[in-house]
C-alpha cells in the first residue's frame, strides 16, 4: 500500500491510494459516509416559535447544522447509562433570538465549550419585528447510515488512476479541442499530457473518439489497483481525522470478527 497526499486542508483532502484492492478504497469511502460517529441535534424543546417556519422545519434545519465532534461523546446505545441520557451521550444546546434579525448557526449556544457549530454562518431563519425563537436542543451521537444529520464525510469519492498512452501521434490536435478538462497539449509535434495533468483526466474517452487515426493514437486506460481519492469533511472532524477514524471503524469490526471466530 502506498499513500501520496496531493492536498490536505482542514476540511478537504485529495490523495492517491495505490497498490490496494478496490474493496479497500470502497470500504474507506463507505465508512467515512456512514460509519463514523458524529454529533447532531436530535430533539428540540420549543418554548417559543413565532417565526415563519413550522417547528418541524426549524428542527430539520437545526439538525443539519454540523457540530464539531469531541471524542468523549459516545452513541446512546453504547453508553454506560443505557440510553437514559448522561453528559457522555447527550449535549444540551440553546437558541434564543428576537427579531428583527437573521438567525445564524453561530447563535446556537452549546453547554459544552468543546462542541460548537462547525460553521457560524449557516442561515436558519429570518425573523421580522416581533418574531421570536426560544428553544432548547439535545444532540446525540449517531451514524450517517441512520440519517444525514450524522454524516461526517461529504462528497467522498474515488476514481481509478488514469493512464493515457499516446503512440504514433500525427499531431493533428483534434483531441486537444475535444478534451473537456483541457489537459492535452502539443509537444514535439505530438499530443502530450503532463503527469500533473494526468490526474485530472475524467476517463471520458472523448479524445479517443476524436482521433482521426485508426486505431486511435491516444488510448485511455486506468490502473485498477490505484485510486485518486477525494473527500470533504462537514467540519465535525478535520479531514485527516476523518479518514483515520474511518480506517479505525473497519479495523474494529475486523477485530470483532476475529474475536468471535476465536470462540467458535
Amino acid at each position: 500500500m502506498e499513500i501520496d497526499i496531493i492536498e490536505l486542508s482542514e476540511r478537504s483532502a485529495k490523495f492517491i491510494l495505490s497498490d490496494v484492492d478496490t474493496s479497500v478504497a470502497n470500504g474507506i469511502r463507505r465508512a467515512m459516509i456512514a460509519d463514523v460517529p458524529n454529533l447532531a441535534i436530535e430533539w428540540l424543546e420549543l418554548y417559543d416559535n413565532t417565526s415563519v417556519l413550522y417547528d418541524e422545519q426549524l428542527g430539520l434545519r437545526l439538525a443539519l447544522v454540523p457540530l464539531t465532534m469531541h471524542p468523549d461523546y459516545v452513541p446512546e446505545s453504547e453508553c454506560t447509562c443505557n440510553g437514559e441520557g448522561c453528559p457522555s451521550c447527550t449535549l444540551n444546546l440553546r437558541l434564543d433570538a428576537k427579531g428583527p434579525k437573521t438567525v445564524y448557526s453561530g447563535d446556537i449556544f452549546s453547554s459544552d465549550p468543546n462542541v460548537r457549530p462547525a460553521d457560524d454562518n449557516i442561515p436558519i431563519v429570518e425573523l421580522k419585528e416581533g418574531q421570536n425563537i426560544m428553544l432548547g436542543a439535545i444532540a446525540h451521537v449517531g451514524y450517517g447510515r441512520d440519517h444525514v444529520r450524522w454524516q461526517a464525510g461529504v462528497a467522498c469519492g474515488y476514481k481509478n488512476m488514469p493512464d493515457v498512452i499516446i503512440e504514433n501521434c500525427d499531431g493533428c490536435g483534434h483531441c486537444i479541442d475535444e478534451c473537456p478538462r483541457h489537459i492535452i497539449e502539443i509537444k514535439n509535434d505530438e499530443a502530450y499530457i503532463s503527469p500533473e495533468n494526468m490526474i485530472k483526466c475524467s476517463l471520458c474517452r472523448l479524445c479517443e473518439r476524436a482521433c482521426s487515426l485508426k486505431p486511435p493514437a491516444i488510448q485511455v486506460s486506468y490502473d485498477p489497483r490505484s485510486f485518486v481519492f477525494t473527500y470533504e469533511s462537514d467540519g465535525s472532524y478535520s479531514a485527516k481525522d476523518l479518514v483515520l477514524k474511518a480506517a479505525d471503524v473497519i479495523e474494529n469490526r475486523a477485530g470483532k470478527m476475529a474475536e468471535i471466530l476465536d470462540k467458535i
Partner: protein, 95 residues
C-alpha cells in the same frame, strides 16, 4: 456483530454475519479470494426466511481441507493489519 454458522462441511462453510454491510464484507471477500488456501469465496446480502432485514451470508470453500474458520479468522486479522498500515502510511504522508 453476530455470527451464525448456517452449514458446515470439512472444507466449506456458509455463515451469516448479522449486522455487517458491504463495507467490511467486500474487503473480507477480496482478501479471502487472494488467499491461496481458498478455492472460492463470495457473499450475498440476503433476506433470510421470515426476517425483514437483509443480512450478509458468506460462503467459503477451501483447498486441501483447510479449516475455513481458521482461514476467515486469519483474514480478519489481515484486514486489521491492512487498516493499521493505512493509518500509519497516511500519518507518515501527512506529516
Amino acid at each position: 456483530m453476530e455470527i451464525t454458522i448456517l452449514s458446515q462441511k470439512k472444507d466449506e462453510i456458509e455463515i451469516l454475519i448479522k449486522g455487517e454491510t458491504h463495507t467490511l464484507m467486500n474487503i473480507v471477500k477480496a482478501v479471502l479470494v487472494e488467499d491461496e488456501r481458498v478455492e472460492t469465496a463470495f457473499y450475498d446480502i440476503k433476506r433470510l426466511q421470515n426476517s425483514v432485514e437483509k443480512e450478509p451470508v458468506l460462503y467459503i470453500k477451501t483447498i486441501d481441507n483447510a479449516d475455513p474458520i481458521t482461514v476467515l479468522k486469519e483474514v480478519a486479522l489481515k484486514i486489521e493489519n491492512l487498516m493499521e498500515e493505512f493509518k500509519a502510511k497516511f500519518n507518515a504522508a501527512s506529516s
